[in-house]
């Protein structure tokens, strides 16, 4: 059972809410560097640092989480943009080349903006990352 934070059930049940439901990813690589990505640019409270962080609007495809309720691991996959950067190398390709991303710690959250609360949270580790041209 997921316990929703105060105010969230009422907010989620509204028919005509002006709210924004967005996806947030907090990623911590093995070397301790943190990255904050969203499908919606903004400054939100981070789960990893506990402080307000600037989330880069890089998420193309938010995670689709599959939960198995068995000994199989729950998981999902997400896509980030690989367009920004210079003409020689892209930001994301560089990031994955320069740092070891395998096994990086990821916190995925769904976030309600006006209320500034998280109503779904999923922790995991990155594996099988790949880089393709946009």
């Amino acid at each position: 059972v997921i316990a929703l934070p105060a105010g969230a059930p009422a907010e989620l049940a509204k028919s005509f809410a002006p709210d924004l439901r967005i996806h947030l990813l907090d990623v911590q690589l093995g070397n301790g560097s943190n990255f904050f990505w969203s499908d919606f640019e903004g400054a939100f409270l981070s789960r990893l640092t506990g402080a307000v962080e600037q989330y880069k609007p890089w998420i193309k495809q938010p995670p689709t989480i599959k939960r198995t309720r068995s000994l199989s691991a729950d998981g999902g996959s997400f896509e980030l943009q690989n367009l920004t950067g210079n003409t020689i190398e892209r930001d994301l390709a560089k990031l994955l080349r320069d740092h070891e991303a395998e096994g990086a710690y990821v916190v995925y959250r769904r976030w309600l903006v006006p209320l500034d609360v998280c109503y779904f949270e999923f922790h995991g580790f990155i594996t099988e990352q790949s880089v393709e041209e946009e």
Partner: protein, 271 residues
């Protein structure tokens, strides 16, 4: 200073598009309605308006001017003047313009102009009567449009003739806040004034980076006799974006006031 570059700087400019263009804001909400029952909507994005433009039968010089303009601002933005609405919009062509020769050295040109949120403006919209909309504390369905820090510390008044729309929330608990999220340009905060009203702190925060585009400023809502809701603060001249307007009970008041009440009534948003 890209906003100083206006594609069609006058009503007689040769680069004005032909009549019959279409303009409007894209749908920014997710909408769902089952075969029967409630309609559900959620705002899910913040995008600028689009103009589908056509220039028919233009001479070679005009075609070249448009082509050059398009290339010049491919990695930049410029200002498009909507002379019908008397407004300026900052943006770019969504994709390269297309050119079709139609003989006798004349060309048909087509393209789409898209407004870009966050881009500086050549001139801000100023017609609050025509272009602005109201966001009340609640919609007609009884759902809160305002976010209250501690709902228990606020009282909803379903009938307050001095409030905009006849309804409002009020609180006198220090540091309680009421917030609206809106997509648009500037905004104005409306509230009524009364003998027990305190001093409220108003701030505006840009959602994309959390920057206070309007630092908290105090406004005294005290009046010896009740005054109907009117703009107490006008925060104009903000570029198109998503913003959070915050009203805070400061716990201070005018010496003559009998209370610290803050009325969260409505905001008016320039669209």
């Amino acid at each position: 200073m890209s906003e100083q570059n206006i594609l069609n700087p006058s009503q007689t400019s040769l680069l004005n598009p032909d009549w019959g263009y279409t303009e409007g804001l894209p749908e920014m909400r997710s909408i769902f309605q089952a075969r029967s029952g409630n309609l559900f909507t959620r705002q899910n994005s913040g995008l600028g308006r689009t103009y589908d433009l056509e220039w028919h039968g233009r001479d070679l010089a005009t075609k070249h001017a448009l082509q050059q303009w398009d290339e010049q601002y491919r990695n930049d933005f410029f200002t498009f003047a909507d002379w019908e609405r008397g407004r300026y919009f900052s943006g770019r062509f969504a994709a390269p313009l297309t050119f079709s020769p139609r003989g006798n050295q004349t060309y048909d040109v087509k393209g789409q102009f898209v407004e870009l949120p966050g881009a500086a403006m050549y001139a801000y919209a100023a017609d609050w009567t025509r272009d602005a909309i109201f966001l009340e504390e609640r919609n007609g369905f009884g759902e809160d449009l305002v976010k209250l820090l501690t709902p228990g510390n606020w009282t909803f008044l379903g009938s307050q003739p001095f409030a905009h729309g006849g309804k409002e929330y009020f609180s006198a608990v220090t540091n309680e806040t009421a917030e609206w999220i809106y997509f648009g340009y500037g905004c104005s905060v409306w509230c009524l004034k009364g003998a027990n009203s305190g001093i409220m702190g108003i701030s505006v925060i840009r959602l994309r980076d959390g920057v206070y585009v309007y630092g908290e400023t105090n406004f005294d809502a005290y009046s010896a006799s009740d005054v109907a809701s009117a703009p107490i603060a006008i925060i104009a001249n903000l570029v198109l974006d998503l913003y959070r307007v915050k009203l805070r009970v400061t716990g201070t008041k005018n010496g003559s006031s009998s209370g610290f009440v803050l009325d969260a009534d409505a905001i008016q948003v320039m669209r």
